[in-house]
Symmetry: C2
Subunit: 162 residues, 2 copies
Amino acid sequence: MKLLDIIDNTPIPVGYRIAFLTNFWREPLLRRMEREFGLIRPEWTVLICLVYRDGLNSRDICEVTEQPSNSISRGVAALEEKGLIHRRPDPQDARRSLLFITDEGRAMHDQVMDLFVRAERSILEVLDAEETRVLTGLLDKLARDVVRWSHLPPYKPIDTDV
Amino acid sequence: MKLLDIIDNTPIPVGYRIAFLTNFWREPLLRRMEREFGLIRPEWTVLICLVYRDGLNSRDICEVTEQPSNSISRGVAALEEKGLIHRRPDPQDARRSLLFITDEGRAMHDQVMDLFVRAERSILEVLDAEETRVLTGLLDKLARDVVRWSHLPPYKPIDTDV
DNA sequence: GGAAATTAGCTCCATATGGAACGATATTGT
DNA sequence: ACAATATCGTTCCATATGGAGCTAATTTCC
């Protein structure tokens, strides 16, 4: 790949490497998922969240994934139509449903997740165990700080009326 | 964020953290770019590549960014229409144009890139200089190995006729 | 308590995105 | 030299995506 040195020539060294990896790592898998399993992103997002914790509502999912509510709403509707999740009214708030994954939903999740697991194993082969541990830790540190930075410019204007 | 622990409950610890960060870090900036500058992803992709190296062709850009050729083709056409790049025939291959960024294109790139630079600075604040260096190095290691892993399953079937 | 403001999630609509197909050109194989 | 195959980038078309708007429910404010 003759232009790979582009990753050295960027004013955003971490962001650009993450974007580069996303283009080659995640996006092709999402496209394959769509082709082979007929699942689009919002549906996958909902499945992942419900495997982590059953009985969430749409708002929860939007919040932890930063996806627009209309996308998640469509994902939820499609998954219910496919029998991969079902909805129950939320007794605490009549505007909300609680979302539950079905056995078929869990099976679908596991099939697709297998793709991602195999990819990650292959990609991380170039790192030793310590490097993988460090990398995970540093990404973790950024992710756990998301509430702070996602409320600052350039994500949100400075709120001068705190 | 009450569901942040989802990042601990994944069979793909690195991939999931990168995806999580992408959702909160990059995607909102791309959406803001589209809103404020009227640039969509393929256009931004082309601008970045031409700032790195002027005179590339579409194929080069598709290769180093793993974007589909039709997306890049549309991006090129739009940028030319906007006066941000111009095309010249490639004397070595009549199927190709060489793409050159204009001064306005470079100015646009710099304006948008400022958004990404500011975000990166803010997000990386939680790391010290050594951590940032290590993180960049590890991501770099994965990115530089892209030719290997992108030709393996699950990206490509094993080629048994090597 | 009631009005005003906010929230939840849905639907609509415009636009972004990616696969397929294609014509022109280049490369490979005989 | 020529036919077969592959490549390049464009165009078409179907579908994915996100902003706006909306109704119903909830929360906040007076």
